[in-house]
Symmetry: D3
Subunit: 188 residues, 6 copies
Amino acid sequence: MPIVEVHILSGYDAEAKRRLGEALTDAVRFVVPAPPEAVTVMIHEMPGEHYYRGRTQRSGAPALADPKEIVRSYLLAMERRDIDTAQEMLGDGFVMQFPGTAPMSKLSELIEWAAPRYRSVTKTYEGFDAMQSSSDAAIVYARGTLSGVWPDGTDFEGIRFIDRFELIGGLITQQDVWNDIAEVRAST
Amino acid sequence: MPIVEVHILSGYDAEAKRRLGEALTDAVRFVVPAPPEAVTVMIHEMPGEHYYRGRTQRSGAPALADPKEIVRSYLLAMERRDIDTAQEMLGDGFVMQFPGTAPMSKLSELIEWAAPRYRSVTKTYEGFDAMQSSSDAAIVYARGTLSGVWPDGTDFEGIRFIDRFELIGGLITQQDVWNDIAEVRAST
Amino acid sequence: MPIVEVHILSGYDAEAKRRLGEALTDAVRFVVPAPPEAVTVMIHEMPGEHYYRGRTQRSGAPALADPKEIVRSYLLAMERRDIDTAQEMLGDGFVMQFPGTAPMSKLSELIEWAAPRYRSVTKTYEGFDAMQSSSDAAIVYARGTLSGVWPDGTDFEGIRFIDRFELIGGLITQQDVWNDIAEVRAST
Amino acid sequence: MPIVEVHILSGYDAEAKRRLGEALTDAVRFVVPAPPEAVTVMIHEMPGEHYYRGRTQRSGAPALADPKEIVRSYLLAMERRDIDTAQEMLGDGFVMQFPGTAPMSKLSELIEWAAPRYRSVTKTYEGFDAMQSSSDAAIVYARGTLSGVWPDGTDFEGIRFIDRFELIGGLITQQDVWNDIAEVRAST
Amino acid sequence: MPIVEVHILSGYDAEAKRRLGEALTDAVRFVVPAPPEAVTVMIHEMPGEHYYRGRTQRSGAPALADPKEIVRSYLLAMERRDIDTAQEMLGDGFVMQFPGTAPMSKLSELIEWAAPRYRSVTKTYEGFDAMQSSSDAAIVYARGTLSGVWPDGTDFEGIRFIDRFELIGGLITQQDVWNDIAEVRAST
Amino acid sequence: MPIVEVHILSGYDAEAKRRLGEALTDAVRFVVPAPPEAVTVMIHEMPGEHYYRGRTQRSGAPALADPKEIVRSYLLAMERRDIDTAQEMLGDGFVMQFPGTAPMSKLSELIEWAAPRYRSVTKTYEGFDAMQSSSDAAIVYARGTLSGVWPDGTDFEGIRFIDRFELIGGLITQQDVWNDIAEVRAST
């Protein structure tokens, strides 16, 4: 039966408000054992001239882009080896960790790392999980299975993977990847 | 500058309210680019006799336990091979998926699966991520490194892992595990 | 000194909001011994994209028509013997009860019942009372005096009557009538 | 989906708050076509030191008694011919109107009026309707059937009646009565 | 950390709302030891059809003009000896008190009073203080220094003064003046 | 018709809340032309565990003492030449300005300044005005008349004065004084 009211400055579009309504509903249900239909969210919007902090009128900032969509675009660009597009989505201090290698900070390193492992790879997604961490970073998980072509030209598919991303201000700052490639290779 | 107000029925303890305050703050910051100190949460508590839906007075339910703590306890019990304790934390339809094997539904299957892989294993945690999904399930991720003893008696350490859990009503219904064990074994 | 705030979805016209403001004021004064000017009502309107229940955006429904006005129109149509118009105002399962006869469900039965009782009748209203019942039905009372012409051609006037109506979804489902016609006839 | 919040001064008991919650729910449903479970009422209580009008702290008044219960008690006292008890429930300027007689202002007049009409009468209630009028008066309707003993000693039963009451400040100021007694007598 | 919400009827311009936001912030800080940035003010605006007191829709009145600006204009007009303009800013029962004379009610009296004291005078402001009193009057203080020309043609400057004004409904009803002119004259 | 709601952390006593209710009422009336009885203030109190800013629970600070009372006590102590008590009420950087002398920072300087001016002086108050400035300082004005004994032993009375004080954190940091002493002396 919880009722959530959130007061925000005007300027968010319908999509941002929908995401806000959903995130607040989920936040309540993380603690309160209520079915979804028992959670109500009301968004109260104010123009800047109705909001003062410290006697000073404030104005809103544009909503953050959906980090899930950013990650999805990034993974698609990487799959296409469109490094330039992917690079633009990375923030300062970006670091990525893949199985069996030290942390890397450049996408070109990743291409090199992948070369002896597979000729090509495609991701089939089973699900995404996204949340705000307690710090400035948003966290996105993408999981599913890999299919592709081994260096020897044979195909593979159905290999489980999971990627974890951190994003700050809409830019990816960290990527951690786990998968069963070595497991599968070892068993073949 | 967003201000969140949540109206709940009385009966939640300080810990549950703190978790609610944090979850609502994070939910706002998932969409609104505000620094933490710009997000205010006010919890308004009501006794049942102040709340009516459909002319009917309602009473609150106990807060959900922190799913992160449930997972932590479960992993500790498993590490100690305290199967009975771990078993009590599982919900109906529990299924788990580990690298290189089909989905399992019994903890005893897991013990068998692990036997030829390592003599013992201990988890060192680097972080937990927890959130409510859009369905009834809470999601918890635990990640870090494994250390332990191989079947041949030699030690290992620093092997990356990540576990994903789903919990419904405080019981674990799904566990998915990824790690670099095969990667490490292949390279040694 | 009570202050009522009601949050509704956008889409109600000024007339509906006025009726809502009045009904809420009266509801408070039914329990709290406050003079009218001590009761404040504020209506807060939200577009659908600001309201979520169970993560789902909701939209409002058109206001219910004023049941008092529906009853007034119905009684006027009946007085004019405009059965077609009156019939359209009746809901499923309509039943009416008049003095000295069994319950009737068709307006034509009423016409037959009235025939030996008076040639014509006109209602002068002293007052209407209207409220929502605890079920889906709105209740309307109309009371006043009857004037008209007896079957023998003589006139009558000032005979007290009261009608009770139930309406669901803006349609009349029940009509109960009491009056002093028999009392007056007996005494003449 | 309407949500009603009412701010009142502390001091109302659970029963008064329940009646307030119900009355506000019904008021909303009088205008907004929402099923009962879509209407939420939250009562916010304040001690006097949290409420100021015109810089002046205010304190609450005791809740009005349920007018339905007052009427029920009055009718019971009258049925028992307990005139003293009934008299104490009447307000200044009390007036009552029964079938076939001029308005009366004293309960003793009523006893005289009833004497030639029936030896005794008992009410079986089918329903009560109660509401606040737009003025200071609360309105209560009681309807059902009369049973009793005619002056000649024979019994009667199932005769429809309806009583309308006005109450101000918990005292009855007006009673209007309609029934089918004359109708029944005429047809027997 | 206080959060102030004020519900007003629509019709106030941005300037009036800014003044309201500031006045409410200052009011809180008069009692609560919070730094300015810890005080949030939200203004909620309602069209008349969303506000009912005593079942009656209310409409807002135009904001009061800033009394500080009224006083500033008045003082400027007086400095220019533009008596007509200054006179229009005075309310019924206006009274002024200057050093060394009885209360005066006409601006022409003031001109006469000033004649033997200085040929001309100009005000340099160090600060204004303005507030609402607990009655209908707004209070404005203006303080600073006087410069000008003595009757003998010599100049003076830097003489401290303070004026206190009361305004009701935007019109000045009282002016009290203190300054160091006599002090300075005595010491020269 | 404005309604003010203020949300504060628990811990303020009735006197502080009364002062808050008054200050908020006055703040509204500074801008909105409403009679006092049309301004409602509701104080909503929260325990710390219901309030979070930046995910962090906050606790309230004790209310500021009424600056008007502080000034009154200070002036009383000075009148009694109780310098020690008065001194304790002064903040860092205290400065005072009296007619016909340079700014002083020590109360002992003031005693010296006054010595040749009067033997003793007593204040009769006509009114106090107090407000929060837009900075951290509260402003208090005290005005009225002085009576006392001239250095030559003759009495005086009815001499107008006004004092302006600034207080930060409950300590007086500035005092400015104007009066008609020189005016009166010059005219005698």
